[in-house]
């Protein structure tokens, strides 16, 4: 029964994918769409085969920048959440600025970040970091605060220090929340890295997916653009999938 279900979770999306490619190809043929508007799947695959070395190395670089940003946001976001959990006045005075992270259009401040951090890897990581920070802060703070009052009583009766309440009660309680935040941020970090690469490069020899996307669209190499977009999507999926696996593994204790 369970095995059967596993089959379906893998098979069903694959069937949808195959159907999608078939419909896409049929549309291109029937309406004889020009390749600079909508290239056929066959063409996209051809481009991928010719340039797979460039595409794979670009995907790898973008992935590295996204991982860097995500790790930074998990570490700093958790620290900020720990700080927020300590007092209401801290939360009230700093929370609006945390929301700022969420509402500021990342495309608008990315050029500024390049001015500050230089035209390279660091800037891309910083953009990925900024965009993925907010879900960690909010989820983490929520988890640290959502502690049953009787649990606090239990700790107080046993003369626990506020340090012990924070690290033996609030933090373990926040772990599932933090992991949910990290899952949301995993997709965002890939977006952040690609947006970062629109503005910052890795030098003349190495490119990220963001660079390939702007470059190929400028040249009207739509088939190439398609394969770059395709790789970005795969990257986001892999990130989300990996985070889900990690989180399920850790949460075996909690659920």
């Amino acid at each position: 029964m369970n095995n059967n279900n596993n089959y379906i979770t893998v098979l069903a999306p694959l069937v949808v994918f195959v159907l999608f490619v078939i419909i896409w190809h049929t549309c291109v043929v029937i309406f004889s769409l020009p390749p600079y508007l909508v290239p056929s799947p066959y063409r996209v695959f051809g481009v991928f085969r010719e340039n797979y070395a460039v595409l794979l190395s670009a995907t790898f670089l973008t992935a590295m920048a996204a991982i860097g940003g995500l790790l930074l946001s998990v570490v700093l976001g958790t620290s900020i959440a720990l700080l927020f959990s300590q007092s209401k006045i801290i939360r009230q005075s700093l929370y609006p600025y945390a929301i700022f992270l969420q509402t500021v259009p990342i495309v608008a401040i990315a050029p500024l970040i390049v001015v500050w951090f230089g035209n390279g890897f660091t800037s891309v990581i910083v953009v990925a970091f900024i965009i993925s920070l907010f879900p960690i802060i909010t989820n983490g703070t929520m988890g640290l605060m959502a502690v049953k009052p009787q649990w606090i009583d239990l700790f107080v009766i046993n003369n626990a220090s506020s340090w012990q309440i924070l690290f033996k009660l609030r933090f373990p309680n926040a772990v599932p929340y933090l992991l949910t935040g990290a899952k949301i941020s995993s997709g965002l970090s890939v977006i952040g890295a690609i947006v970062g690469e629109f503005f910052a490069g890795y030098g003349a020899r190495y490119h990220g997916l963001g660079y390939l996307i702007t470059f190929t669209s400028g040249q009207m190499k739509t088939d190439y653009l398609f394969s770059a977009v395709f790789m970005s999507t795969i990257l986001g999926l892999v990130f989300f999938g990996t985070l889900s696996l990690i989180s399920n593994y850790i949460l075996r204790k909690w659920e």
Binding site: K148, D153, N158, A160, K168, N173, K253
Partner: protein, 240 residues
């Protein structure tokens, strides 16, 4: 003692519990029984009056432990680690923590479940873990705030018998809050009856049955008479 909305919760509460006694407090819901327990436990401090818990004799003993209405276990900790918590917070050395916790689990007959998570245990088992966690510090005074109220009748009676066995073994003092009268009569050497809000003491009844008490006691005539007596006292206190 007043609640935040200025409703008086307790009034003229004055009683004394001798070491080794098993005292129950019964009263209608909302009469301030839990508030009283929380004051004694030191969880509430905006009250007028004086609470004294006997001075310590041995240094490794905690003055008091509290058993909550729910088992109140931390879901991410295994049974053993839940029992260990009070010792861990007191920064007792790890070997001693483990040894004492296993001993505490043994007396509630749950040693085999030391490495199970709370979600894998039944309601009654969770409550026994909670008892083990309270007992692990060897408290002199045990405060129990309606600990078995969420359990079915059969499990409750079973745990009542377990509780008496543990009490006789270790000789702590018990202060047990409940609204179940027959539970109170079965367990206690003394029952304090409280009135409706603001909670006052309206009776202090000695229960003469000798220990150890057997389950057969519940079906005796004297037992029923005591339950009847406490019930009528409660009714008077509620409708006067």
């Amino acid at each position: 003692m007043y609640y935040e909305n200025n409703v008086q919760a307790l009034q003229d509460i004055d009683f004394c519990v001798t070491q080794g006694e098993f005292v129950s407090i019964v009263g209608p819901s909302g009469c301030g029984k839990s508030t009283l327990i929380r004051i004694i436990a030191g969880l509430i401090d905006n009250y007028v009056g004086d609470v004294r818990v006997a001075e310590m004799t041995k240094t490794d003993e905690q003055p008091l432990a509290l058993v909550f209405q729910e088992a109140n276990l931390l879901p991410w900790r295994k049974t053993l680690d839940n029992v260990r918590l009070p010792l861990e917070l007191a920064e007792v050395c790890e070997n001693v923590q483990k040894e004492k916790s296993l001993a505490a689990l043994d007396i509630v007959r749950l040693k085999d479940f030391a490495h199970a998570y709370p979600r894998e245990l039944s309601g009654g088992m969770k409550m026994r873990v909670s008892l083990a966690r309270a007992l692990v510090t060897k408290p002199q005074l045990m405060l129990l705030d309606e600990p078995f109220s969420a359990l079915d009748e059969i499990t409750r009676q079973q745990l009542n018998e377990d509780l008496l066995r543990l009490w006789q073994q270790d000789q702590w003092t018990a202060l047990f809050v409940t609204h179940n009268i027959s539970e109170a009569v079965f367990l206690s050497s003394r029952i304090i009856v409280m009135s409706d809000r603001p909670g006052r003491i309206i009776a202090d009844v000695a229960i003469p049955f000798s220990y150890p008490r057997t389950p057969q006691l519940r079906s005796s005539v004297e037992f029923a008479q005591h339950v009847g007596k406490i019930s009528s006292l409660l009714r008077e206190g509620t409708y006067e």
